[in-house]
Symmetry: D2
Subunit: 257 residues, 4 copies
């Protein structure tokens, strides 16, 4: 009751850790390398239910959470990893009720996570200069069920931020240092700044701009995630690992004297 | 207006990254190694304001966020680090409205973060077997402003969980594997399990129990955070680094067939 | 004079960091994806010379060093990485003149490095239980020019070590803990033990055995290597990284009282 | 016989992994926090022997190896760590018989390791611009027993290298990029270059200079070492870890066409 799968819901079909599929439940067949799954059979069953494909392979129908939506939103584009997003959430304190400015929107991956955490009373103002991405993001955010908490703006954030008194400004774009003065104006006193950048050159420029514009508590970190294979008698870390996604720079707005 | 410091508020006095002080604003003097700060002077000023100590050293009065409260809650006890908490939030999908079972409460550090993110409509059921910690946690949660979203329970979670149909069970205790069967019963289908453990032995036992009890999507990770000193001409990672806090094991509840 | 390429020499044809070829210089054509290289043209030229393929692509003919030989010795089998070997050399102090017992030989990768460093007056006693590998190793060691410093033994080292008074015992096999008592007998007082193992379970058993058999200065480490792309304006660590090769356990022989 | 401690020898008194003492064996008392050790008692006993202090605490008298000498040579100055040295040895192929140019000498730590591995027929040409360090290094190298393989030069290597046709040039100084052209001239074709630098800015400049001067196979790495506490039932990585020592850049000399 309440926690059953309905037609039109998204489910995450789980085969194993590397093979999960985000699918819409409709009266249709879903083809996988492990046989056909009749999605219609899921209707009315509880989330977490197991279903067999035509090849007799078991899938589990999970309710997609914020991370699952995030992964499926990537589709070939570079997105901020969950590990980095978790850090951004905790370090900036973005949470229920927060008003957050974000750029660039891209496919909406970062946006979706921010929107998920600021709901129900908060709001995400998301800037994107490329119109085609605004459209893609809009669809992705709707699918993730968080579009109503987001204001998508087809604007170049390096030219200015419309909002003021916001709790946080969070950036994932090529030239974050150009946004630093606008972020300062938009933030309320003590508000949080975060910027994700793949290269150290971007970090150096951004930190310099932050120092010059009255930001305090400036810190840059990188976060490395390593998988562990835990099995009695042969426990060891995973052989392959992502060695780098990006650096994250944090700061807080101190008022000028 | 609205964002001003009032008597009785907590502020985070920021000197530099390693020296921050969480203090209650009252008409009193606060003594630091860098002189005396007259806290009363902060009343009525905006958050982010700068204030000079008697020694002429500048402090910034920041509004403490979820991470700042967390650090100050540690006070000599081992707490889960923000980096690990961020990961737990994103991977489990705990967010506004979630109902979460948590153990052990300890000083309330993990509890405070969960409570911050499930508000306003969610709830954290926090188990702690040692009565003295329930009291400490209660005070800390009140100070962090999230006590109303938490139900503190002076109970041994290895003997059972009272709640059912919860969204997530999150553990930070010595014997998580003993809680696995109770977690399974308490979770709704597809719900999330997370456990933080310092030793690999705890991980191996927990993963084994998860496999035996019908959990799926089991994965263990460790998260390494490295600070970067970004300064033109002499950018380099920090020399010292925390090499280990703990492993985090995640899983989802699959229904038994 | 002296440093010229001669017929029959091995050269490392370098195209870029990921594409290097260890080839014997003969009057023949060497086919690559970037055209044909006439190896005979290299005869009489200095090491480090550049040569163009039929497709006009430039290769550099480097003199293969110990690491280059090592990589080419792998050929699909798991070998100890250079980073781990470097650590083993320095921590054990194996160097010119050392007498070293080693197992298992495998394709001779570890053996070749040990032999390279103990020459000219030292010696490596290398144990291998599988006869087919003894043969492969023999060929590889001859090609690397260090066979004369090695005694290849087709024996099971878990049943005993023939040598005594050796400077170091270095292991890369599945059950190092079974070799610990033999290593103790074979080593001279204060001699060095090192063992490379992929799983933590192997480490725990080996460390336990070392403690029980009078070894001191026992320590286990893991070594992570990360590549950096250094280029003005876009410097960043490499995206992919090997997250785990193995743990290395070191110890020294303390005499029993 | 042969492997006994003699008066005048250096021994490494081992108490535990964090407390080791490099002492000269003489007929005198050595004072530690764990009581007095009568060093004279060691004379004539075998290396690895255990000796009790006046407080009844056991020490083990180990024969110092190349790494032990290295650590004791540090004495408050920054030295290249063994992990980085191991990598440098293997990647450059410096070994018995190699002729190596090195700078700056400093206290002789890196020099001592290079000298240890090039002996007996190789040679290290070590440049140091500060005369006081040449003297310190001389004493340290003598104590480590490798002075005869080293030529200490009180010269500024950024102004030129006297030697030619060397196998490797290895740098640990503030401005390695200024040495790159001299290194190119000094190296024989295909010879190895290695440079250790704490900051990324040094790396970027050095890599740029290497590219401009005809070097090939240029790569930069960083090496992270993590200690593991292996004990049944409570195995875990060490809490504290060195997060950064420096970057190492490697290259090979390709001839100009």
């Amino acid at each position: 009751m309440g926690h059953v799968i309905r037609e039109g819901d998204d489910v995450l079909l789980f085969l194993d850790r590397r093979r999960t599929y985000l699918v819409r439940v409709e009266r249709r067949a879903f083809h996988t390398h492990k046989g056909v799954v009749q999605l219609g059979e899921l209707v009315g069953r509880e989330y977490g239910t197991r279903i067999r494909s035509s090849a007799g392979v078991e899938f589990v129908a999970l309710k997609p959470n914020v991370r699952d939506h995030l992964f499926k939103m990537a589709r070939g584009t570079q997105i901020i990893y969950p590990k980095d997003l978790g850090l951004i959430m905790i370090y900036t304190g973005v949470g229920p009720g927060s008003r957050v400015v974000e750029a660039g929107t891209g496919t909406g991956a970062l946006t979706s996570v921010l929107a998920y955490y600021v709901k129900p009373s908060g709001r995400v103002y998301s800037y994107e200069v490329r119109p085609e991405f605004v459209e893609i993001a809009s669809k992705n955010l709707e699918r993730a069920g968080v579009l109503e908490y987001v204001e998508l703006k087809n604007k170049d954030i390096t030219e200015g931020i419309d909002e003021s008194g916001v709790d946080a400004v969070i950036l994932d774009l090529a030239t974050p240092w150009l946004v630093v003065p606008h972020a300062y104006s938009a933030l309320k006193g003590s508000g949080s700044f975060a910027s994700f950048s793949p290269t150290i050159d971007q970090v150096v420029k951004t930190v310099k701009a932050l120092r010059e514009h009255g930001f305090v508590y400036i810190e840059t970190v990188e976060c490395l995630l390593r998988g562990i294979r835990a099995e009695e008698g042969r426990t060891r870390p995973e052989t392959l690992m992502t060695g780098h996604t990006g650096y994250i720079t944090f700061a807080r707005k101190g008022l000028r004297t």
